[in-house]
C-alpha cells in the first residue's frame, strides 16, 4: 500500500490568499494511501524542506506530493530534498497551485475545489511513479562557436584557454564582425581595431581553435554532449594552404567597381578580395557573382598572376561533419538599412547615411582615410544632423524595443565629428538619452558640454533637399513641441538594431526558441541568460538582443563558462524520463510486434532493432528498442504504438491514464 505525503505550500500569501490551503490538506488526507497531508507557509524554505525530509523519514513515505509553484521552478529543489531524506527523487511530484490556480482565479470555493482536484490527480499519479536512476551520457569535449564577431571570438578564446577544442565558424570571409568596422569605441574612444585585431590573430594561432571562415552551419543533429554538426565550407576558389596572402591578385583584378560591403558601400573592391587589411585569415576569396570568369567564362588574370598558383576556379564547397558537445550561438545583429525610412529620403539623398557608414567615414582605415567627407561630393560637411531612435522604440514601425547602443554611438559620432571638424555643427535629435553604464553618462555629457554637440529632444518628421542642403524638420519637445528646421550637409540615422537575416532559419535548425523580432530566446530572462531551452546550446552577444561591446563580451565569457562547466566531466547525468519498449514473459518476450512504424516518428533516431534469440541463438523475433542516450523523452512513439508496447517513464500510460480518471471522478 502506498504511503503518500502531501505538502501544501502557502507561498507566503501567493497561494493562501485565494486557496484555502488548510481545507485542501484536510480533503486530501481522505484519499486512501495518503498518510500525511499538511500545509506550510514556505515549503521551499529551509524549515519547509526540513519538514518534508523529516516526514519522509518518520512516516516511511513511498511518495511525496509538493503542492506549490510551477514544477518548472522548484521540481529540482524538492526532488533533491526527498533524495537527501533517502527517497528516490522521482517519487516526488509537484502540483502547480500558484501559476495554474491561485494566481489566475478569484478567492472562492471553486478555486479551492480546483486545488483539491489538482492535488488529488497528482497523488493518484504518484502512486504509479517508479524509482528511477539518472542516465549517464558521454560528453564530447569540443565546442562549436557560430559567429566570429567579438562575442564569438571572446567565447572561443575562453573555452580554448580552458583547454578544450573549439570549432569557430564565420559566414564572412574574415572574422571580426561589426566591431572590426567601428572607428573608435565608447566611452573610452580607443580604436576598435587596435583592441580587436590582436584577439583575431590569437584565434588564428590558438592550438585549440580550428577556424572555418566563409562557412555556415548546414545542419545539427544529436543532443547535449553529443551533437553532430554539418558545416558547409564555401569555396574561396583558391587553395588557402598554399596562398601566401600577398594580395597581388586583389590589386590586379580588372573588375574593381564592386561596392565594398565592409565599407558599407562607401568604397569599392575587386572581385577577388580580402574584406579588409587586417582580415583573419588574410586570404582572398573570389566573389563568384561578380567575377568575370564565373560570369563570362574568361579572364583568369588572377590565376595567371598568382605567384603561388593557388587559384582554384573549380574548387567545390566542402562539407565537414564534426562531433561537438556544446554549441554557442554568437551570430550577432544587423542594423536597419535606412531605406526603411522613406520620410528621411534615404537612397534618394546620398548624404543621408546610417551609423555604420559614419563609422567607416570616421575610421582611419576607411574609404576616406578617416576624413569625414559627404558621399555625394566629397565635401567636408559643416553641419551634421544625427537622428537617434531611427526606427527603434517605434511601435508603428514594428520595433517597440530600444536598440540600446544608439544613444552612446550617436554621442560618440558627434564627438568624433567635432574633433575632426572643429568649426562644424553637430545636432542630435533624441527621445531620451539612455546612458546607463560605467562612464556612459559622463561620456554623453562630455559630448554636449565639452564638444558642444547640440542636443534637441524631439523627433525628426521629414528630411528633404533644398538647393544642395538637406532640410531637417523636427520638433523640439522641450520648447513645447515648437518646430525646428535645420539646414544640414549630412544626416546620420542611428537606425535600429535588428536580428541578423537568417536567424529564424538557424533557430529552427538548432531547435532553439526565438522571439517575434527573431532574436534568440534565453532559457530564463534572469537566471539563465546565456542558455537556451535546448540543453547544450548557449547564447553569446547581440543575437539574443541588442548589446554593446562590453555586454557582448561578458555574455560570451558567461556562455564559455557554461560550456567549460559542461566539459568538466567526461559524462553528464540526464533525467531518466525517456521511452522504453516493454518486455514480457516468454513466449511473447514483448508485446512489440516489430512493425517499426515508430522508427520514423523519432526525431532523434533513437529507435533501434533488437533481436530476441532462443537458446540455440536463432532469432525468434525482432522488436524495437530505445537508445537511452539518444531518446529525449518526447513520447511521440508512445502515442503512436498500437500495442502500447512503448511507454515513457514519468508520463507512463498508467500515470496519465490515472491522472485523467482521478481528475474527473469523485473518491
Amino acid at each position: 500500500m502506498a504511503r503518500i505525503g502531501v505538502f501544501i505550500c502557502h507561498c507566503g500569501e501567493n497561494i493562501s490568499a485565494t486557496v484555502d490551503c488548510k481545507k485542501v490538506a484536510d480533503e486530501i488526507l481522505k484519499i486512501p494511501g495518503v498518510v500525511l497531508s499538511t500545509d506550510y507557509k514556505y515549503m521551499c524554505s529551509d524549515p519547509g524542506q526540513t519538514l518534508i525530509k523529516e516526514a519522509v523519514k518518520n512516516n516511511k513515505l513511498t511518495g511525496v506530493v509538493v503542492s506549490a509553484c510551477s514544477p518548472r521552478m522548484h521540481e529540482p529543489t524538492f526532488r533533491k530534498a526527498v533524495a537527501e531524506a533517502g527517497l528516490n527523487p522521482f517519487l516526488c511530484e509537484m502540483v502547480n497551485l500558484r501559476e495554474h490556480c491561485s494566481w489566475v482565479h478569484e478567492k472562492n470555493d471553486m478555486t479551492t475545489q480546483k486545488a483539491i482536484d489538482l492535488v488529488k490527480t497528482i497523488v493518484e499519479k504518484v502512486k504509479h511513479n517508479e524509482a528511477l536512476q539518472s542516465i549517464k551520457v558521454p560528453v564530447t569535449r569540443k565546442a562549436l562557436v557560430i559567429g566570429g564577431g567579438v562575442a564569438g571570438i571572446q567565447c572561443a578564446l575562453d573555452i580554448a584557454n580552458a583547454g578544450h577544442k573549439v570549432i569557430l565558424i564565420e559566414r564572412e570571409p574574415s572574422i571580426g564582425g561589426h566591431m572590426s568596422q567601428l572607428s573608435e569605441t565608447f566611452p573610452t574612444l580607443d580604436c576598435s581595431q587596435c583592441i580587436l585585431t590582436p584577439r583575431m590573430v590569437e584565434i588564428a594561432q590558438h592550438s585549440n581553435i580550428t577556424l572555418y571562415t566563409y562557412s555556415e552551419l548546414e545542419k545539427l543533429e544529436g543532443f547535449i554532449g553529443n551533437f553532430n554538426a554539418t558545416i558547409r565550407k564555401r569555396s574561396r576558389s583558391l587553395d588557402e594552404k598554399i596562398c601566401t596572402g600577398c594580395g597581388l591578385c586583389t590589386t590586379k583584378c580588372p573588375n574593381n567597381k564592386i561596392p565594398n560591403e565592409f565599407e558599407q558601400g562607401l568604397g569599392n573592391r575587386t572581385a577577388i578580395y580580402v574584406p579588409f587589411p587586417q582580415a583573419v585569415p588574410n586570404k582572398p576569396v573570389i566573389d563568384k557573382n561578380n567575377c568575370t570568369y564565373y560570369k563570362k567564362g574568361k579572364c583568369k588574370i588572377c590565376e595567371k598572376l598568382c605567384p603561388a598558383k593557388a587559384i582554384r576556379f573549380d574548387q567545390p564547397d566542402e562539407m565537414l561533419e564534426i562531433e561537438v558537445g556544446a554549441v554557442v550561438l554568437a551570430t550577432g545583429f544587423n542594423i536597419l538599412k535606412t531605406s526603411f525610412f522613406p520620410e528621411y529620403g534615404y537612397g534618394q539623398y546620398k548624404d543621408v547615411i546610417d551609423g555604420l557608414q559614419f563609422e567607416r567615414l570616421a575610421s582611419a582605415s576607411g574609404p576616406t582615410g578617416g576624413v569625414i567627407k559627404r558621399p555625394s561630393d566629397g565635401q567636408i560637411p559643416q553641419t551634421i544632423v544625427f537622428v537617434a531612435c531611427a526606427g527603434s522604440r517605434d511601435a508603428a514601425k514594428g520595433i517597440p524595443y530600444c536598440s540600446k547602443i544608439c544613444c552612446m554611438y550617436t554621442a560618440k559620432h558627434a564627438m568624433l565629428y567635432k574633433h575632426k571638424v572643429h568649426e562644424g555643427k553637430a545636432f542630435v535629435f533624441y527621445m531620451d538619452i539612455r546612458a546607463a553604464g560605467k562612464n556612459y553618462d559622463e561620456f554623453t555629457r562630455r559630448a554636449i558640454e565639452e564638444d558642444g554637440a547640440n542636443y534637441i529632444r524631439g523627433r525628426v518628421s521629414r528630411i528633404y533637399e533644398r538647393n544642395g542642403k538637406l532640410i531637417v524638420i523636427g520638433a523640439d519637445t522641450l520648447l513645447n513641441g515648437q518646430q525646428v528646421e535645420i539646414e544640414a550637409d549630412m544626416v546620420v540615422l542611428a537606425s535600429a538594431s535588428i536580428a541578423n537575416p537568417g536567424s529564424e532559419e538557424l533557430a529552427q535548425k538548432l531547435h532553439v526558441s526565438y522571439n517575434q523580432y527573431k532574436f534568440f530566446e534565453e532559457a530564463h530572462p534572469k537566471l539563465k541568460p546565456v542558455e537556451t531551452n535546448t540543453a547544450g546550446i548557449m547564447l553569446a552577444g547581440a543575437c539574443q538582443s541588442p548589446k554593446d561591446i562590453p555586454e557582448s563580451v561578458a555574455a560570451a565569457s558567461g556562455a564559455a563558462s557554461k560550456v567549460i562547466g559542461l566539459f568538466s566531466n567526461s559524462e553528464l547525468t540526464r533525467d531518466p524520463l525517456i521511452a522504453h519498449v516493454n518486455k514480457t514473459a516468454p513466449p511473447l518476450f514483448s508485446t512489440c510486434v516489430g512493425c517499426f512504424l515508430c522508427e520514423s516518428v523519432c526525431p532523434y533516431k533513437a529507435i533501434e532493432h533488437e533481436e530476441i534469440k532462443n537458446r540455440n541463438g536463432e532469432v525468434i523475433r525482432t522488436i524495437a528498442s530505445i537508445n537511452p542516450g539518444l531518446c529525449q523523452g518526447c513520447g511521440t512513439c508512445v502515442a503512436l504504438c498500437r500495442t502500447k508496447s512503448i511507454d515513457i517513464r514519468g508520463y507512463s500510460n498508467t500515470q496519465v491514464f490515472t491522472e485523467v480518471v482521478a481528475l474527473l471522478n469523485e473518491i
Partner: protein
C-alpha cells in the same frame, strides 16, 4: 444551464503551453477555474485514447494545446500530433461526437494572455453547449443503479 460549471480537461505540452499557462499566472491574468491542466512532455505524447477516456469519465470539454509549428522542443512532436488530430477529429465527427467540445490550440511560452483567452472562450462555448449528456449517458450504463439489459 445557469449554474452549470463544465468539467474541462486540458492536455498540454510541458515546453510551450504549460510554460505559457505559467506566464498567465505570473502576469496574474484571471481565467475560469473550470479548466484543469494535465502535463505532457509533448503534444506528440498525447494518446487519442486519453481524449476518449476524458469524455467517458465525464468531461464536458477538452483542450489540447502545445507548441506552435516549428517551435516544438522536440522539433516535430507537434507536427505528428497535428496529423493525428486531423485524422482523429474527422473520425469523431463522422461518429457524431461533437468536435466543438475539443479545442486544439498552439500556445507558446510567451502567450500567457492567449492561454487565458483560449480557456475562457472554451468555457463559454461549453457552457453554451451544456453538459455532454449523450456521452455521459453511455458512460454511466452500468454504473448507475437504474438498470439496463441489452435493449
Amino acid at each position: 444551464m445557469e449554474n452549470f460549471e463544465p468539467k474541462i480537461v486540458a492536455f498540454v505540452c510541458n515546453w510551450c503551453t504549460y510554460a505559457g499557462a505559467d506566464l498567465t499566472g505570473t502576469s496574474r491574468i484571471k481565467y475560469s477555474p473550470d479548466v484543469k491542466i494535465i502535463r505532457f512532455p509533448c503534444t506528440g505524447r498525447i494518446d487519442f485514447m486519453l481524449l476518449l477516456k476524458a469524455f467517458s469519465n465525464g468531461a464536458d470539454g477538452i483542450i489540447v494545446s502545445g507548441c506552435h509549428p516549428n517551435d516544438c522542443h522536440y522539433t516535430s512532436g507537434n507536427f505528428h500530433a497535428r496529423r493525428r488530430w486531423i485524422v482523429f477529429r474527422s473520425l469523431l465527427d463522422f461518429l457524431g461526437i461533437d468536435t466543438k467540445r475539443i479545442v486544439f490550440s498552439w500556445v507558446s511560452a510567451a502567450e500567457g494572455a492567449k492561454w487565458a483567452e483560449i480557456v475562457n472562450t472554451t468555457v463559454d462555448e461549453i457552457k453554451k453547449l451544456g453538459p455532454y449528456k449523450e456521452y455521459q449517458l453511455i458512460a454511466k450504463e452500468y454504473l448507475t443503479t437504474k438498470e439496463v439489459i441489452n435493449e
